[in-house]
Symmetry: C2
Subunit: 69 residues, 2 copies
DNA sequence: TATATTTACACCTTAAAGGGTATAAAAATG
DNA sequence: CATTTTTATACCCTTTAAGGTGTAAATATA
């Protein structure tokens, strides 16, 4: 589950629009859109502001792909 | 397991110095230091560059604390 | 379909992240 | 202990994320 689909699905599950989620999270509307569209270079603290609404936070999760160590 | 201790522990586990990890990950030395010191406003893509070395990536993880939905 | 709502894209400005370098402090090693 | 290695802090500069606003496209609803 990547961040993009996580936020999109959770937001719809609680029936919020992007502007409503933005306001509740205390971030800009543009940020929510970029987050749901998979922009890679977002700021960690802003992402956390959104995830916290759903009882989540950013963390390290395992990755199927190549492992250098 | 937060990102801060995750990176610090993994780095030491594979016996890399901060400059070495920075170079391998393709980020600046300053970034590694701020990451290991818990700076909240780092960029997601840079964090992922580091986590990928260990076979991890940034994702949403559950949070014991308050849940608004 | 028409209409309303929601989402996406573009422009500009501001604030700050990230990098490089230099220096200092701390930790490890002999 | 003295010396080396590693980590932390500070400065300046460049790049860019984030927000606001406006407009267009897409989606939902009547």
């Amino acid at each position: 589950m990547n961040l993009t689909s996580f936020v999109k699905e959770r937001r719809k599950a609680v029936k919020l629009t992007q502007p409503e989620l933005a306001e509740k999270a205390g971030v800009g509307l543009r940020f929510i859109r970029e987050l749901e569209q998979g922009k890679q270079s977002l700021r960690l603290d802003k992402v956390n502001q959104v995830l916290q609404l759903f009882g989540y936070e950013v963390g390290a999760v395992q990755n199927k792909l190549n492992q250098n160590f």
